[in-house]
Amino acid sequence: MVNYIWVFMTIIGIVFALINGTMEEVNKAIFDGAKEAVTLCIGLISVLVFWLGMMRIAEESGLLERLSKLFRPVVKIIFPEVPTNHPAMGYILSNMISNMFGLGNAATPLGIKAMEELKKLNGGKNAASRSMVTFLAINTASITIIPTTVIAIRMNYKSTSPTEIVVPTIIATILSAIGAILIDRYFYYRRSRKG
């Protein structure tokens, strides 16, 4: 699926450029896109090193385990295939909590760690497991409590109430998270019926 989408976007873009005469922009876009990707990854090194270092301490001290114990009932419903005492639980939770506080740069390393643990659970296969798809769905729905960036933008443009969107954002994000979980369940049952 991703292979097709990837090729589709590129080919349609090139065909469009041929028709519209935007070849110059496309040429520039190829190298700008590649450069942006590398810049993004280099930027990620700092947060990844820092947060994975911190999380190693949290893991070795048993803090992650305590955290997962606390929220176990909820997460167990969403991720029925993850054993309760598995480290994946702790990483999934820390990722969700970071997302809730709008700490995107802390959430990414934790999310990657969670994926790693889920892959181990799945026997190291290179195909996405049920839990991985669920985890991804929840992440794309991004449960937010404090949308810090948006509040900052609103303040910049002199909103009379920059934070008035906080509650609506929370409601919308909860609805989309529930939607994500339901859609994920639907696809899971459809898959398992097919065998």
Partner: protein, 178 residues
């Protein structure tokens, strides 16, 4: 507002302090553990590069060629029929594809229509309540070497649609459509 910004300002330093104190209390070799964990971060960041380069180049080509604009024009009658304001459509399409572009569009919409207008509020809620599905997918699966994504993309994009509908409905209900 002050309380919220205070919380978000102090959250990370407090969390770091807490992890370090807890680790020391449990007699973890904190600094050595930190370094060991950090080493993993470099490996992960480097391993994502090819995934992200591939995806971002395709997205850039698609956008720069004008294909994205055409897609938006093509979708517009459909979204209009569903009651979505035309101004917001580009943001809806960009949001799952590119985080930086979406952020740029959100501030653009807020700048043009004002933060306290329907469009401004809708853009704010949309920006806050959804995420860049393609980026999350590429980075998370890329970092751990998942090649078969299964239903992940479909589920992620459908969840985005739910998020968009929810955002429009909530904003319209709470603030009205002015």
């Amino acid at each position: 507002m002050e309380l919220i910004s205070l919380i978000s300002l102090t959250f990370i330093p407090l969390l770091i302090g807490f992890i370090l104190l807890y680790g020391t209390f449990k007699q973890v070799p904190t600094y050595e553990s930190f370094v060991e964990g950090g080493k993993e971060g470099i490996k992960i960041a480097v391993s994502i590069i090819p995934f992200l380069v591939g995806m971002l180049v395709a997205i850039s080509i698609f956008r720069a060629s004008g294909a994205l604009d055409a897609l938006m024009n093509w979708i517009r009658p459909l979204t209009k029929a569903m009651g979505v304001p035309a101004e917001i459509v580009p943001l809806l399409i960009i949001r799952p594809i590119s985080g930086t572009a979406a952020l740029g569009m959100t501030s653009d919409l807020i700048a043009i229509y004002g933060p306290d207008s329907f469009i401004g509020r809708l853009a704010s809620v949309l920006q806050g309540s959804t995420d860049t599905t393609f980026y999350v997918l590429t980075v998370y699966f890329g970092a751990v070497g998942i090649k078969k994504m299964g239903d992940a993309l479909k589920v992620g994009l459908l969840a985005d649609v739910v998020g968009i509908v929810a955002a429009i409905a909530v904003v319209a209900l709470v603030f009205g459509t002015k």
